[in-house]
Every structure is written in C-alpha cells, then in structure tokens.
C-alpha cells in the first residue's frame, strides 16, 4: 500500500472482513459494527502529519496499526502533546468545527478515515453507535483531565511513573501475549512534551528509576517494569483509573 502525501489524500476502498468487538479490548474496531460498504484506509510515515490544528474537521480517524500523537504548538515553538493513540483509538468527533490539535504519526500507521457525513448518517440510523461515540468522547475527556492533574500538580517523578504505566497499558492492549517488554515508539522529546518536562529531565528520571531497579532499560526505546506496585504508588493515580474502569485503550 503506497504512502500518502500529507497534503493530498488518496483513498483506497476496503470492504473490511472483521466484525466489531467493542467490548473486547484486545482487538477493537470501534466504528465498524455497522459495516459501511466502503472505508478509506491510509498509511502514514513516521512524522507525517495527518491533520493540522485549525483544519476543518472532515474525518474521524481510527487507528488500525501504529502509534499517533496529537499536539498543540505556541507561536514560539513550545509544544504540548495532548495524547498518544494506538490501535483501536479514535481521534475526533463528528461535529462541525476545526481540529484543536495537530495529528501526527509517530511510527508507520494504518488509519481508517471515516467521513463526518458518513458518521452522522450512522448516528441517525443506530442509537447504539451514537452512544459509542459519546462514550468515546467521555473517555477522551477523562484522559485529558487525568493529564491535567499530572501537569498541574504532580512531581516530575510521578508524571513519568504515570506515563510508564500508561505505556504498559497500551502495550498489553496492542499485543495479545502478555509480554513484559514495553516499547516506547515516541522520542524522549515527545515524552517531555507530553509530561510538561524537558528531555534532559525525562532522561534523568529514567536513569534514576533504573538505578532504583524500578525499570530495566533494554534499549532507549525498550524497557521492563520491575516493580509495578511501587510505580503505581509513585504515580499517584486517582483511584481505579488504571485498572477497573473499562476503556478501550
């Protein structure tokens, strides 16, 4: 499948062979239950931009494979990453308006683009589907608020601990086998821009955690969590956020 230029979108037509398992968090295709005849699946490079901040919203993006980030940038270049997204995640809502963040691929990514109009048609016909969209928005909002307390009130150590646990959650959702090796597709800079720190600080905390035997760094982008319990304690996660509440990532 050819790569797509960021400016121009080539559409390829697919009739998907899979059925939604919305509740099955291991293998998710949120918006596929209604099985539209035609879907557009695109492939993106690392660092390729999928949509720009302030672009009119035309599509909902459903990640089929790979990792994607969303961010906002200030005029002097300061950047805040607002989220990382992996297989099964959906970015956007079928409303009239503009994207409030830029969407960019981190790894090679396959992304299913659902047109806004298509979405709205589906909503009209299927109230269940509509509920799923609202549930999705609710989950995104929960994530955003969790990140707000991280950025506003948590120490650098706590933020990194929370980030690592989030990575673990992504990993276990991506790979069916309970592999303890966690891969970090994003750069140190990305982690810094997500946690509101500098990359040097992120590095130092990684090293500190390594010295404390909390983690093992196999490579700069592969690690193992040795002491899940203590990380959880350190992360100061609000209640059951990480475990009990069902989410689809």
């Amino acid at each position: 499948m050819p790569y797509t230029s960021p400016a121009k979108i080539n559409t390829e037509q697919y009739s998907p062979s899979f059925i939604t398992h919305f509740e099955n968090r291991k293998n998710i295709t949120v918006y596929s239950k209604a099985r539209p005849k035609v879907r557009n699946i695109l492939k993106y490079h690392p660092n390729q931009i999928i949509a720009f901040e302030n672009d009119p919203i035309n599509y909902l993006y459903e990640i089929m494979a790979g990792t994607v980030k969303t961010y906002k940038i200030l005029n002097d270049g300061r950047r805040q990453i607002t989220g990382f997204y992996t297989k099964g995640d959906v970015i956007g809502l079928p409303v009239d308006g503009r994207y409030f963040h830029t969407i960019e691929a981190i790894t090679e990514a396959s992304i299913c683009c659902h047109s806004k109009i298509q979405m709205k048609r589906l909503m009209d016909s299927d109230p269940d589907f509509t509920l799923k969209i609202i549930k999705s928005a609710h989950d995104r909002l929960r994530d955003a608020h969790e990140q707000m307390i991280s950025l506003g009130r948590k120490t650098p150590d706590e933020r990194i601990a929370a980030f690592l646990l989030k990575c673990q959650k992504w990993a276990t959702l991506q790979i069916a086998t309970q592999n303890s090796i966690i891969s970090l597709p994003m750069s140190r800079m990305d982690i810094a821009d997500y946690t509101g720190l500098r990359q040097e600080t992120v590095c130092r905390i990684f090293s500190k955690f390594k010295r404390a035997k909390l983690i093992t760094l196999l490579r700069s982008d592969q690690l193992i969590l040795n002491n899940h319990r203590q990380l959880l304690k350190l992360a100061n996660l609000s209640e059951d956020n990480s475990e009990t509440i069902p989410q689809y990532h």
Copy 2:
C-alpha cells in the same frame, strides 16, 4: 427555595417557561428545547458538593445561575481544578460510568439536573439534540486541551493572562450589558489550583499586572482589564480560540 443537603437530593418540579436559544450565547439553555414536562432544579450553597469523583453518573447538570468548579484530588490533598462553569454550561455526559471529578458550587447556584435516562430518551427521539450533546463534549475537550498546554508549557504570567481573559468571556456571557468590571467568584486558592500555581504566586502576578497597568483591582474579587490587546498577546492563546470559534461559554 430551600437548600439541598449534598447527601439527599430533594426534587422540585418545574415546568420551564423558556425556550432554548442554543445559538444565542447570551442566554442559553442547552438541553431545554425538547421541553420535558418535569425538571429538577436544585439550589446549592457555596462550597456545597454537587457530585463526588467516582460517584456513578446519574445526572447531567446544567448550570442555570451561579458558578461551579470541578476538580480532582490526590491522596495527599493536592488539588487540580479542571474547570469553572457558569450559566448555560453543562457538566457530564449521558454514559454509564462514574464522574471523574468532584463538582462543587463556588457561589450560590441553581442547577438543573437532567437524569441520564431522560437524556437517553431524548437522544433516541431527537438527532439534533444528540448532536448538541456531542458538540458539548467537543467543546469540553477543547477547553481541556487548551488547559493542558497552559499547565504544561506556559509561564505563570501567561497562564494568569489566559485565565483573566477567560473570566472576561464568562462575564460578558453572563451579563448582557457589556460591563467592563469582571468579578472573580473563586478564591486565590482556586485560581492557583486551576493554573497549577500557588496562591502566593497568583497574588504576585496580580500585583505585577496591576503595577504594569494591565489590570485595575477594585477589590480582591473585582477587576478591570485595561489592556485587552496586550493581555491577549501575553496569554499566547492558540489562534482564534478566544474569539472566533463559537462556543457556549
């Protein structure tokens, strides 16, 4: 109308005499268009808690009057205020789940409680209504992401400038007359917990802005913005977020 204890909810029946003007941002009642026969309007004290974090979601709260805040708390007492809400704002989504923040009244507040079931019934019958809910979620998500870049990447001065402009927006939406006096119903501590600072720092920046003639402090909870343009520049707001994009607060 009697005040309500936080534990037990007294319901009063109202047949509302007003019709929605969803697009009219000055006088908004988002969820009233369908005119349910019976609605529950409650009054809350300052500091009275409307719902606790992790409570099951039973209601959507629509603010009719007053100011309300939502926040999350860590086990050692650190607090992050995730939003302030005024007349016309809606808190919550009709999903199965739990509130991810505590909702508390700042001033005396009249709040219309829409039961989740009622909401879902309305959604089934009125696709327009459903779109409004999704639009509402989208706006909340935009606010949250705007706050994320504030907390993660903006300087204290920029955060306070942005906060003041937000207050002005609330003020102009609340009061029809374009009064230049802005009232701050929330305490310095609240502002600190919203902007990720300490109350002393908030004070110092207020004083600094006062010395720079950017603002005039009439009382500790009343001020005037003297140099809107410079505040806007200082706040580093991402593009048109403050002006052009229609929002309902």
